[in-house]
């Protein structure tokens, strides 16, 4: 127990902070912060597996998050039959063409010796394939995007339960990670960082601009939810009864019947949003705890020890007969898949998919701050980092506003400096997170909860 005392202390402080938000702001805000903290925690765990276990730097978190989100759309949205009718066949042909291209190139690479002829052959296949794809897909895309552009204009998804998409999101991200890993993992650390950052940007720009796939920047709204809808809750009697029982003393204090009804309505509306967020919190908690158990087991297994050995001394590990390239690729895929789950969770939680909102600042750099602040190589640390940094990120603006008001209280309301500062309050989050990162890097480079190596 003593071993974990600092973990328990750090987590209790974090929970206290969230409870304080619940008491002083509102329980709905506290729960949505809590949910987002957990989503961040899952992303951080993915990045931590790559960076903490294996020392691989992945600045492409944004791309995997976006792919996870795309999975939600492709899995849960009902298919649009009209779009499929006008363009489905062409798009499927293109898919078949791409698969055919990949296999024929693989076949050529295997069968023909390395030569100029082989290079020309591959170039010809790619060139002809691209022209064919452009010719086949061009008109189909136009037709698909013309199908009720305000509402559809895309192929739609499979219409399956949304929870299934979390797994699909993981597979999407893993697929991308396989390609990226094959291309870039041989690079030195800072090159790898830049390459992954740029590849993620390519992925997001494809999702943004291929409208037939997921409506691009026109967004997909009203996604399915694994939790009940607020509006349904507000009309179901069991829920109203529950709220009435919970607040019976408060309600009993009011005499007038109409006032009582009004208060009850208000309470029901508040309670329904809290209830939905609690449902999400429960689901996210299951994911976080499952991942925590699995990663913790993996970290202290022979495999985890091997990964640490590779991280700390590649040459030595390689001399011991470990296949470093293969293990790096494997862990890269694993970590990215976890980030993919987080991306799917986030879109499910929001109920909408907005490709335009995927920006490296929010989805790559902030996540990295979480990893470093929490503690690299320590899963408890990674989760804590997700919580702490997300909490700061969200609460920085109110905090800044409070301090600005406090320090400029003696100035008149219309003072230019005061007005300007109040307008810029949201940007203090960058300052807070940046200074936090710099301080941690300087004075506690191993993070709040440092890596613990248990010797057997």
């Amino acid at each position: 127990m003593k071993k974990y005392s600092n973990v328990i202390a750090a987590y209790s402080i974090m929970l206290m902070l969230i409870i304080l938000v619940g008491i002083f702001q509102s329980w709905s805000i506290a729960l949505s912060i809590f949910n987002y903290c957990m989503i961040s925690a899952v992303m951080t765990m993915g990045a931590n597996i790559q960076w903490g276990y294996a020392g691989l730097i992945n600045f492409g978190i944004m791309g995997y998050t976006a792919l996870g989100g795309l999975a939600v759309v492709l899995v849960s949205v009902a298919p649009v039959p009209e779009s499929w009718r006008v363009g489905g066949l062409n798009m499927m042909t293109c898919l078949a063409l791409i698969i055919g291209m990949i296999f024929s190139i693989k076949y050529i690479l295997k069968k023909i010796q390395k030569s100029k002829k082989r290079n020309y052959l591959i170039a010809a296949i790619i060139f002809i394939g691209l022209i064919l794809i452009k010719l086949i897909s061009g008109p189909a895309i136009e037709r698909i995007e013309a199908v009720e552009p305000a509402k559809f204009g895309f192929l739609g998804g499979l219409g399956m339960p949304v929870l299934f998409s979390w797994i699909v999101g993981a597979f999407f991200a893993a697929g991308l990670a396989y390609i990226v890993g094959k291309v870039a993992l041989g690079l030195r650390a800072d090159y790898l960082a830049i390459a992954t950052l740029l590849i993620a940007e390519i992925v997001v720009s494809i999702i943004k601009h291929e409208d037939w796939l997921a409506r691009g920047v026109k967004n997909v709204i009203g996604l399915k939810r694994p939790a009940p809808y607020e509006i349904d809750l507000q009309t179901s009697s069991w829920f109203i009864n529950l709220v009435e029982r919970l607040h019976s003393t408060k309600l009993a204090a009011i005499n007038s019947l109409s006032e009582k009804q009004e208060l009850l309505n208000q309470l029901v509306i508040n309670a329904s949003s809290v209830y939905v967020k609690l449902c999400f919190a429960g689901m996210f908690l299951v994911v976080v705890i499952t991942l925590l158990i699995v990663t913790q087991k993996a970290l202290y297994s022979p495999w985890g020890r091997m990964m640490r050995a590779i991280r700390d001394n590649e040459e030595a590990a390689s001399a011991m007969g470990k296949n470093i390239v293969k293990q790096h690729l494997f862990i890269f895929i694993l970590g990215s898949a976890i980030v993919g789950i987080a991306g799917a969770m986030m879109v499910t939680n929001d109920g909408l998919f907005t490709p335009g909102s995927y920006r490296p600042m929010r989805y790559t750099f902030v996540i990295w701050v979480m990893v470093i602040v929490g503690g690299t190589g320590n899963n408890f640390g990674a989760i804590l980092g997700g919580f702490v940094v997300w909490f700061l990120w969200v609460q920085a603006a109110p905090m800044a506003l409070f301090f600005i008001n406090l320090s400029t209280a003696h100035l008149p309301e219309t003072n230019a400096l005061r007005v300007h500062l109040i307008e810029t309050a949201p940007y203090f989050r960058f300052l807070l997170v940046g200074i936090g990162l710099l301080l941690i890097m300087r004075f506690r480079p191993q993070g709040i909860l440092p890596e613990k190596i248990i010797k057997q």
Binding site: G186, D190, I194, L437
Partner: protein, 336 residues
């Protein structure tokens, strides 16, 4: 005549914009490469540092404009360059003293320094947004065009007009001057040689009596000059918006790596490679072919290889291809 028209179309819509954009990228890429070559880390605060210098140029321009001072037909912002550079260098030296020097003396791995530069990025971005806000700002004044399309048509009697904006000429001219001075400095002066020696082999450089503190300081000063000028030129040509500057970091990195990171010549060249690729691949060639082909063959589609949405994606794809086949860049950079 048809042929000249076709050439003018290409010049007007691709070559001149690409040269301008390439110059802006080249300055940024040289900034990245100097920091990488001498201080040995990938600086993720690149875009924001350029933005920081530009911010002061914008503010000073507004101040001068309010005082009624202008620079004739040239943009007032040119007058503010020295002051913006001074503030920028001051800021960079402070950052180096308080943040980077600690890790340099400890000889931390480059990755750690890159992570630290993330922190600097966050802080710089916060300062910029707190001072000037996130909105779009134009600060170009003076003569807008050197040559207008209508004037050109009158002059030559061609169908196609050629427009040359003053910012385009300024960008290309100033870039060439600044970069030549920098190369002269690096190659011909004693300080420049000591910088290159330090970049090649730190230990040997120290043995031969080169003062590392001085080298680092001069690197920041040159980097500050180049970053500020690059940022101001970009802002004059397009407009100043903090978010755009942050995003520009990505093609700048691509340019630096494509050219061979650590090699200033490579960075300079890489900027143009990226710019020309972006513009040539996304330009719709219809008008060009209308002039050059006989009427029967005239195209009816836009003849655009890729939609302009993929502008950024192109530069990144080039980078990926370069990394795959020639990881040290087109010009030999530092060994990976």
């Amino acid at each position: 005549m048809e042929f000249i028209n076709a050439i003018i179309v290409l010049l007007n819509y691709t070559v001149i914009p690409a040269l301008t954009y390439g110059s802006q990228l080249a300055l940024g890429a040289i900034f990245v490469t100097l920091i990488y070559g001498i201080l040995r880390f990938a600086n993720f605060a690149t875009g924001d540092m350029m933005s920081f210098g530009t911010m002061f140029a914008v503010l000073l321009t507004y101040y001068l404009q309010s005082k009624g001072i202008s620079f004739g037909f040239l943009p007032t912002a040119l007058l503010t360059i020295p002051f913006a550079i001074a503030i920028m260098i001051f800021y960079m030296l402070i950052i180096d003293k308080t943040v980077f020097s600690y890790y340099r003396i400890k000889k931390s791995p480059p990755v750690q320094l890159a992570m630290v530069s993330l922190g600097v990025m966050f802080v710089t971005q916060a300062i910029i947004r707190i001072i000037i806000g996130p909105s779009d700002r134009r600060f170009l004044d003076g003569e807008k065009f050197i040559l207008k399309a209508s004037e050109f048509k009158e002059m030559t009697g061609l169908n196609e007009g050629l427009t040359i904006k003053s910012t385009q000429v300024l960008t290309i001219f100033i870039t060439v001057v600044v970069v030549s001075i920098m190369f002269w400095f690096l190659n011909k002066t004693k300080t420049g040689t000591s910088m290159r020696a330090y970049s090649d082999n730190e230990d040997l450089a120290l043995l031969s009596g080169i003062d590392p503190k001085r080298v680092v300081m001069i690197t920041w000063i040159i980097a500050g000059i180049i970053a500020t000028i690059g940022g101001i030129l970009y802002g004059l040509d397009k407009s100043y918006r903090p978010f755009v500057y942050f995003n520009n970091m990505l093609p700048i990195f691509a340019a630096a790596i494509v050219g061979g990171i650590g090699n200033p010549y490579g960075a300079f060249f890489g900027g143009y490679v990226i710019a020309f690729a972006e513009i040539f691949l996304t330009y719709a060639y219809k008008r060009f072919f209308v002039y050059i082909l006989p009427e029967s063959l005239e195209p009816n589609s836009l003849i655009q290889l890729l939609s302009t949405d993929y502008k950024f994606a192109i530069s990144f794809s080039i980078l990926v291809v370069v990394l795959l086949f020639r990881p040290s860049g087109i010009f030999e950079g530092k060994k990976i």
